[in-house]
Symmetry: C2
Subunit: 259 residues, 2 copies
Amino acid sequence: VRIPVLIEVDCDGHRAGVDPESPLLLDLAAELAREPLVLRGVLTHAGSSYDCSSPEAIRAVAARERDGLVHAAERMRRAGHEVPVVSAGSTPTALCAEDLAGVTELRAGVYTFFDLMQEELGICRLDEIALSVLTEVIGHQAERGWLLVDAGWMALSRDPGSPRPGGAAEYGRVCDLAGKPLGDLVVRGVNQEHGIVASRSGAAVSPEDFPAGTLLRILPNHACATAAQQDGYYLVRGGIRIEGYWPRLDRSAAYRGRW
Amino acid sequence: VRIPVLIEVDCDGHRAGVDPESPLLLDLAAELAREPLVLRGVLTHAGSSYDCSSPEAIRAVAARERDGLVHAAERMRRAGHEVPVVSAGSTPTALCAEDLAGVTELRAGVYTFFDLMQEELGICRLDEIALSVLTEVIGHQAERGWLLVDAGWMALSRDPGSPRPGGAAEYGRVCDLAGKPLGDLVVRGVNQEHGIVASRSGAAVSPEDFPAGTLLRILPNHACATAAQQDGYYLVRGGIRIEGYWPRLDRSAAYRGRW
């Protein structure tokens, strides 16, 4: 048995990994170069890119991510190790980076779908978000200007998305069936199986405009979290005609016979 | 085909339903008494019980829930309808109610497991929480006093639980394998597959006390949300010896052949 290993490098003080300048890096490399392990390289994740408020700030994080990671790889090479894998991550830095020299792999994930967090970071446009939750109007609270829909956090997740001025939570933008946003309608609250739709401005939503049974699409705060609430993807080109189904993962096979 | 229906009653202005005093209640009852529908009764959910900060406040919500619901049923009976089902809900009110005369059904759910929200409401004790997530220490950030564990929001959910003084989020209490809380250790942050464990007080957690590979249990903020992230339940009496497995639901059968 040969077990390939990567050393996680912390380029932005965000979560896990060893500082690229730390003596620990070379101590770890020496430990991990022993059989049955095979030291293959370094990886990092520039999670702090999600705290940025402009593409310029993300570019700076991307430069720090690349520089720290490549620096760690160079230190290991100077100590005599082969470092074939130099793996960076995060969708914002992957799409904003200006220099990736020395990086051999990008592990960006959410770029597959994009979502409202990426749109608010300036990484994509609203009409590039390729994942939405289909929901149905199931009631109204006319005096409060609310629509009730059958997508709560079981369908959308409780991911709060980007922090908002005033701290008012939102759990998605409300669109028509073609995926076009309906004014400033947002999901204002989520319970387990109920979502509360209201306008950002506070203007009342007319029940007559959205009778019970109206189908809507919700663009998610965080596509990873929303997709994880589902068993699979129904493929559409807009509207509701389903052209295919992709299971997210085959849970039955993965778990059957495990215990 | 006969379709039994209940009318949702709004007893606390929290979410959905018709006001028990509203003329709409009897209009709805008349509409819903027509074939193929069979009007069976009323239901409510006292969601505002979750906003309470004392058992006394929950008792008051429970009284309002019962009174509003039974009043709606009585109005419908006076209008000539049979109302065999008078269904109330919410774990806090179900466990605090002093008078349930006239109620025929309680739809409490989370009482099955309890969780930190229920404990903070005074509904249960910590040692009555019967659901936890088993996790493993996978790293440390010794300078910050953090443990990294392999339970992030995919395992725990992003449910923020009860609001906390100062707004610092927590995603669970950290326990030993027997389910006993370890001092003031909490899950301070969650990413998709990483959890960050730290002490509430800010005192550093010693890596020596929790070497990589240490198994821990996390008590969840909200058992419904945490259970929904899993495929099933591993049954234990404390420790890690598994005595059984209950699938949460059979997703494969539910979805196979649907499209």
